[in-house]
Amino acid sequence: MTNIYSTAAEMASALSKKEITSVELTKAHLDRIAEVDGKLHSFLHVDNEGALAQAAEVDAKRAMGKMSETLSPLAGVPIAVKDILAQKGIPTTAGSKILEGWRPPYDSTVVAKLKAAGVVILGKTNMDEFAMGSSTENSAYGTTQNPWDLTRTPGGSSGGSAAAVAGFEAPLAIGTDTGGSIRQPAALTGIVGVKPTYGGVSRYGVIAYSSSLDQVGPFGRTVLDTALLHEVIAGHDERDSTSINAPIPQVVAAAKRLDVKGMKIGVIKELSGSGFQAGVSARINESIELLVAAGAEIVEVSCPNFEYALAAYYLIAPSEASSNLARFDSMRYGLRVGDDGTKGAEEVMSATREAGFGKEVKRRIILGTYALSSGYYDAYYGSAQKVRTLVKRDFENAFTKADVLISPVTPTTAFKLGEKSNDPVAMYLSDIATIPVNMAGIGGMSLPVGLAEEDGLPVGLQIMAPLMQDDRFYRVGGTLEAALLSKWGKPILSNAPDLAVKK
């Protein structure tokens, strides 16, 4: 029977066979949100009315027999959307007080594509303010809790989206990934998350953080579900000048292929061994054995410049952010503070930004302003751009020896809320394995590969492929997922505590 614990593919199939309606399925998810979101706080806004209206529309179309040829395979399946994507008439805050109450007058391209495909938008999910963070603790609207352990972080910045999917509040979600903000929370919550190739998914209507790094991508509980969503949101958009004008990689077919015979899989030497939690390394090594058993060939590759990527990222991203966030000037939308008729525009602007931005956002704006200021530009921003060249070259070299590369997604499993919130440098280190992918613009997947022995929390394997070869990590991910499932006998999320149990 189809219920909230089913996969999106199962829901889609039951919908097309008319075993369940989208209204029933949507209502089941809204009920679940009402029951458990007090514990998780995945959502900043739940659109009960809008979701049910959208579901009813899909059901009506299906009843008229219009479905199969005109709408996507995911028509009628619910989704949660990160609160950084503009949705017409629906509050969109990017986790910031400066946008509190803003209702965009237009849809982002990804939201428009979801609507056109009949994917039902349940609401907007919590996130670190302007996507700056790795724990969702930088949200101006409170933290999100990890469904596996409510005292721990679900990761970030797309923590609300990941917790919603892992907590069965939604089968699918949209996130954004600038330095790991999809892959890291996917890893910490035991679900699948993909950062597509840079330019693979339109960013029109997505509130910008670091424009040379930001990418929108899908979350799901299985590789196939994630691929189905990937195909709905991907593709060229003339409203985003960084969008790639090329066919979408065949990710659904790749997810179904279940075969890695003859593929060369590169293990990145610098992202293994010491520095990674023992239980994380153990699960990664087990996955490597399963891939070998499935017929893949393992090669070791070296990426010596990755150790500088983190430092370069924390110069490039804040620099771009200091420029992007200049748009929040209190003139056209969002908060305005101190406009009493006596103060000038710049005074009002400064007072508004003081009141509207949180601590981490201010930290990054100041850091970026410093790195771009004359006298320091070459030493900081300029040097970071050179490191970016070196990281790209490391990947290019590695991909001459291997079809895909693998590493852990994170050095540790989910950390405690509050554990790193007062130590920015320690927090930044949780992105050490994900950042190189954004620097080079390639795509990467986080796949849940089991639980760490010492704490029983999920571990993510990162699978990376060359530019626009996103189908490769779906192929490897699908194959490994099938091998793990047959080993476990049940999905990884069945090990998580049941949140709905009444106290």
Binding site: P105, L335, Y380, V425
Partner: protein, 98 residues
């Protein structure tokens, strides 16, 4: 590297149009110094012979046809404005400063 003083942070905050309390300035000076200490590592490998990368894809100047397309109405464009008057954004005075 020169130490980051409280005055340096105050100057940066002014450039970035973010007011800061004395307490915030004190904290930020310490944190900025820590972060810069960690990120200055990029200088170890950034030698003169390496070209910079500003963007992951080699794209430049994307053009489109210069035709009028449907866009926001005046009312929609002003829907989020903190203040408006006469179908325009109303802003605080911009003259008479500095």
């Amino acid at each position: 590297m020169a130490a980051i003083s409280r005055d340096d942070v105050a100057h940066l905050a002014k450039l970035a149009r973010v007011e800061m309390t004395p307490d915030e300035l004190d904290h930020m000076a310490v944190e900025l110094e820590q972060i810069l200490g960690a990120v200055k590592r990029v200088q170890e490998v950034a030698t003169a012979d390496i070209p910079p990368t500003s963007h992951p894809l080699s794209m430049s100047n994307i053009f489109r046809d210069d035709v009028v397309k449907p866009s926001l109405t005046n009312e929609e464009a002003l829907s989020g404005a903190p203040a408006k008057a006469e179908d325009r954004f109303k802003v605080p005075q911009i003259l008479g400063e500095e």
